[in-house]
């Protein structure tokens, strides 16, 4: 039995469809991340799971039980908010214990639970302080403590790291991941930050304009995105989407890239996947991540690592490598070069393409075909 099942969830606001038929099932111990640009409906979906917003159509099941009509406090869930939502007039101890108070849990049990949880999160020295006296990271932990102490079936996280500065965000991300591994908790996590999604999730649900674009593991999402939106949204810098024509000549197949009347460039393809045969002679979009285009030519030139020549437009040293914007057949593509590369803007260079990472998209629908 899945911990959480979303069956054909729809949400309508007057004339507006906010969510259009979402189907997701989450197993125990999974960390599902709902990710997408603002307005995609991820927060609305989370609020509906929590019971803070009504369901227009469809069913939400927690632990096999239909919860559409249940009050939030009865759904066996706990939530951590973006602003932590700690009660300012109560101490940390009282904040954590508030839910238990509402459920009339006797005092000794409450104190015991608070003690355990605060030790796990290392906030036991802060129990008597007020939220205003805590740092951002400490408040985050208190918010998690309040959620943990309920021992719910599902934890809901609503962009919990958005309010933290960059360094703290990275640290807290690791903490959440460690907590997840230690407790084996089932978590639904909302964020707009695709890096958080990739690093934390066991599975990612990419959403856009109320529709589920793809549901899969981080590797699947990264390497085999379902459409051009997912390809462009996940991963930074974004995947190169190269429109071109798939051609077949006696010597073999290739992708011809020619934009704005620039001299055509060819990427030689030893073989084309069956699914793309229908595109021979037609336009198609190739997807290649920057790391699949590099200046390491060893073993290149043949078979799965064809070599191309392109002009360097801009180089951006990042430390571990150099991002280079190349002009290929009139199209700009980004490549990852070795950190010690000496190529400069305006120079021509030779680059190897790792075809095993190549994905193909239909140019009109954006869906991945191979």
């Amino acid at each position: 039995m899945a911990s959480l099942e979303l069956v054909n969830i729809r949400k309508r606001y007057g004339e507006l469809d906010i969510l259009q038929g979402i189907d997701i099932s989450v197993d125990a111990g999974e960390l599902l991340v709902l990710v997408g640009p603002s307005g995609c409906g991820k927060s609305t979906l989370l609020n509906m799971i929590a019971g803070l917003d009504t369901v227009s159509a469809g069913e939400i099941r927690i632990g096999g039980r239909r919860v559409n009509d249940l009050h939030p406090s009865e759904r066996d869930i706990a939530m951590v908010f973006q602003s932590y939502a700690l009660y300012p007039n109560m101490s940390v101890k009282e904040n954590i214990a508030f839910g238990m108070e509402m459920r009339k849990v006797p005092k000794p049990e409450r104190e015991q639970a608070v003690k355990e949880v605060s030790r796990t999160l290392q906030i036991d020295h802060l129990l008597d302080r007020r939220p205003a006296q805590l740092s951002g990271g400490q408040r985050q932990r208190v918010a998690m403590g309040r959620a943990l102490v309920r021992k719910p079936r599902i934890f809901l996280f609503d962009e919990p790291l958005s309010n933290l500065d960059a360094q703290l965000r990275v640290d807290m991300r690791t903490e959440i991941k460690k907590l997840h591994q230690r407790l084996g908790a089932t978590i639904v996590y909302v964020t707009h930050d695709q890096i958080e999604a990739m690093t934390l999730a066991t599975r990612i649900a990419v959403m856009r304009a109320g529709e589920l674009q793809q549901l899969g593991s981080p590797a699947e999402i990264y390497n085999r995105p379902a459409n051009t939106f997912v390809a462009g949204f996940m991963g930074s810098p974004r995947m190169n989407l190269i429109p071109g024509t798939l051609k077949n000549e006696g010597s073999g197949s290739y992708l011809e890239v020619a934009a704005d009347g620039a001299g055509p460039a060819r990427i030689l393809l030893p073989h084309v996947p069956d699914a793309t045969r229908g595109y021979l002679g037609r336009e198609i979009t190739a997807g290649l991540r920057p790391e699949a285009i590099s200046d390491k030519l060893d073993g290149g030139g043949s078979g799965n690592r064809p070599v191309i020549e392109a002009t360097v437009e801009v180089t951006e040293p990042t430390g571990p490598d150099i991002l280079a914007v190349l002009l290929l057949g009139g199209r700009e593509i980004t490549a990852r070069l070795r950190p010690d590369s000496t190529l400069k803007a305006g120079e021509r260079g030779r680059f190897a393409i790792d075809l095993s990472k190549l994905v193909w998209f239909d140019p009109s629908t954006g869906a991945r075909v191979a």
Partner: protein, 296 residues
């Protein structure tokens, strides 16, 4: 609050000194005009009558006397009874305290409902309630007088409390609604998930964090209700009249010699409670003014 900006200083010559002089001069001049009535009232209230007739209004008394104050409090005639204004002072106190507490409490609940439990038409209802802030109260005097008579509470403190509560609700609701609009919704959501229901959320989360607006509302309501005259004069006569009505009576109905010093003493006594509130809670007083002037 925007930080104080440097009035364009740049390079200023001697003209700078002159303009500072004029600025301070003007400010002090106006300050003197503003203080004048209060000073005059105080001075007059401690002079014996002959001095009032012979001296000027801002002359310091040769002979200080507190008799006018004692007279005002306990002996001067208000209408037909001559027991001073103390009875009316207590009337005002009872009326004001009760009306402030009730109207504030209800206003708090209203603000809570209107901002955190939005239902269809809530904004329209708020607008309807808000209209009560703008009406000239003359428009309700006749029906209210009739109604109070029918209910048997005309000319009584409870009657006045009822009137002040009813017409104070529009203001208190406005104040709390504007404050709670900015109160984080996530706190309410977290409390709901924690299992708190309507009243638990109100008493455990909202109220403990409402101190500033409660102070502002209480100050504003206290000042308005204590200082009211129209309702007092329309709905209460004789023994149950509030302080303002009694004061007006003392000052304006004169039989025989006008005891100006007693009049002034009575006026100062009438003004003391709200003045004290102003001095102690000045910052909140101003905030109340500003909130009241922000419509919508």
């Amino acid at each position: 609050m925007a930080q104080k900006w440097d009035s364009p200083q740049m390079v200023r010559g001697t003209s700078a000194h002159w303009s500072r002089f004029i600025i301070y001069g003007l400010l002090l001049f106006f300050a003197a005009i503003y203080m004048l009535p209060l000073v005059v009232m105080l001075l007059t209230s401690v002079k014996p009558l002959p001095e009032i007739y012979s001296g000027s209004i801002i002359a310091l008394p040769h002979e200080w006397t507190l008799k006018p104050w004692i007279d005002a409090w306990g002996e001067t005639c208000v209408g037909l009874s001559c027991h001073g204004i103390k009875g009316y002072f207590w009337n005002s106190t009872k009326m004001t305290v009760a009306a402030v507490i009730i109207s504030t409490a209800i206003g708090m609940l209203n603000g809570y409902v209107l901002t955190k439990w939005r239902f269809k038409g809530a904004d329209l209802l708020f607008g309807l309630i808000l209209f009560g802030c703008f009406i000239p109260f003359q428009i309700v005097l006749i029906p209210m007088a009739t109604l109070l008579g029918k209910l048997g509470i005309a000319s009584s403190t409870p009657g006045l409390v009822l009137v002040h509560v009813i017409y104070g609700l529009a203001f208190t609701t406005l104040y709390f609604r504007n404050y709670y609009v900015a109160f984080p919704d996530e706190l309410i959501r977290a409390a709901m998930i924690d299992g708190a229901k309507f009243f638990s959320i109100f008493f455990r989360i909202l109220v403990p964090n409402s101190a500033p607006i409660v102070v502002v509302t209480v100050i504003w309501q206290f000042t308005n209700i204590w200082n009211d005259f129209l309702f007092g004069a329309s709905f209460s006569t004789g023994e149950s009249a509030p302080m303002t009505v009694a004061l007006n009576n003392v000052v304006n109905t004169s039989t025989g010699e006008r005891e100006y010093n007693v009049h002034m003493a009575a006026a100062v006594i009438a003004a003391l409670p709200t003045l004290l509130v102003y001095i102690v809670g000045g910052r909140y007083f101003v905030r109340g003014l500003m909130t009241g002037s922000v419509k919508g």
